[in-house]
């Protein structure tokens, strides 16, 4: 087939009213988040001391940071799924998540002083956290990668890494309702490690699945 003939065939294929990629991604992510949220509530459950103000505040902060990271990962994965696009403003939510965590750590050091920080960092449920977050993240990761196949990332692995971060953020926000390790140092150490693992898996899968 000559190139001119191919052009004729392409021109005969009319534009379709496709939903934008961001819409597809959100439509994929929302039910995935709802599913793992529900499963988690039934199988694991919310922390028992949630009625305590200090527990509620810490849970809210953890969920907030996780949600910002999820939004940041999603924004970057979407942006990097369009050819020729630079991250630009799409990097802002992720920067905000990191800034929020840094502020929280600074606030905790100001309030409690440096004494005992290794104990707060190690926490009590690190293994649980490191298991449950990646496990739950598999569901939103699969949904998100499926949606991103409509995109065209110049570097599929990079887009997949941020999709992994988004999935881990969703899973971490759910896990935060159960987690009783309330120090931001714990979040910095273990939530991040869990997110890194999911991010790596996302990159690995995307290098195959998001090629176009």
């Amino acid at each position: 087939m000559r190139t001119d003939d191919l052009i004729a065939a392409l021109a005969a294929d009319p534009p379709q009213a496709a939903r934008p990629l961001s819409g597809r991604a959100l439509m994929a992510l929302a039910p995935a988040a709802a599913l793992i949220g529900l499963m988690f509530l039934i199988l694991v459950g919310v922390r028992h001391d949630i009625a305590l103000p200090s527990a509620a505040v810490a849970t809210g902060l953890k969920m907030g940071v996780a949600a910002l990271a999820a939004g940041g990962g999603l924004a970057l994965a979407l942006r990097l799924s369009a050819p020729g696009a630079r991250p630009g403003a799409a990097a802002l939510p992720l920067a905000a998540a990191l800034a929020a965590l840094a502020l929280w750590i600074a606030w905790e050091f100001a309030a409690l002083g440096p004494a005992g920080w290794p104990r707060r960092l190690i926490g009590t449920n690190a293994v649980y956290c490191l298991t449950l977050i990646p496990l739950m993240a598999l569901v939103p990761l699969a949904a998100l990668l499926a949606a991103l196949r409509a995109g065209a990332p110049e570097r599929p692995a990079r887009a997949g890494a941020f999709a992994g971060l988004a999935a881990a953020g969703v899973a971490a926000a759910v896990y935060a309702t159960h987690c009783t390790d309330d120090s931001p140092l714990f979040v910095l150490a273990w939530y991040s490690l869990a997110a890194l693992a999911v991010s790596g898996l996302g990159a690995l899968l995307a290098a195959r699945l998001l090629r176009w």
């Binding site: 052009i7 004729a8 050819p83 090629r211």
Partner: protein
């Protein structure tokens, strides 16, 4: 492209016809740098056009189209060179000046790779009827006893399969 999105077929055809020489020039330069002949140029151009078409929704109207086009051409070029590279990656950089200059467009009119022939029978007939024979969907539909809409859906699917064949063509070797 904006007009094409609104359904202006002629404008879309012009847009693709302008994109083709850009992709061709880029492919030719890259193949020359890699010390390879022009035999693959038209393959890469066609693969790039298919990608532009199938991924056209990734261009958003508030961004310039140039970087978008360049990025697609670059991605397809790198992909093609990487896939085909393993087969004949002979380091002849030093000889490049001694090689005869590329002649014209040896393959522009030839069926470079008969990938269309590997499509399922009905898809192949629809693609050929609407490209080489330049016939309308309604007419093709009457002949194949399909509705015009079904022909268009089948064409879209066939173009996707064709892009897939391009991507896999070299892995098979």
């Amino acid at each position: 492209m904006r007009a094409a999105r609104a359904g202006d077929e002629a404008a879309y055809r012009r847009f693709l016809a302008e994109a083709a020489p850009l992709a061709r020039a880029a492919a030719r330069a890259a193949l020359a740098r890699a010390g390879r002949g022009n035999a693959e140029v038209e393959d890469i151009v066609q693969e790039t056009l298919l990608a532009i078409h199938l991924k056209r929704d990734t261009w958003s109207e508030d961004r310039p189209i140039g970087p978008w086009l360049n990025a697609i051409a670059r991605y397809k070029l790198i992909d093609a060179l990487r896939r085909r590279g393993a087969r004949d990656a002979v380091p002849i950089d030093d000889l490049i000046d001694a090689l005869p200059a590329p002649q014209g467009e040896p393959h522009a009119d030839a069926d470079v790779r008969r990938l269309v022939d590997r499509l399922p029978e009905r898809s192949r007939r629809i693609v050929l009827a609407m490209s080489i024979e330049g016939r309308a969907a309604a007419e093709v539909g009457r002949e194949l006893e399909m509705s015009e809409g079904a022909v268009r859906v089948a064409l879209h699917r066939a173009l996707k399969q064709l892009a897939e064949l391009y991507r896999k063509a070299d892995d098979a070797h």
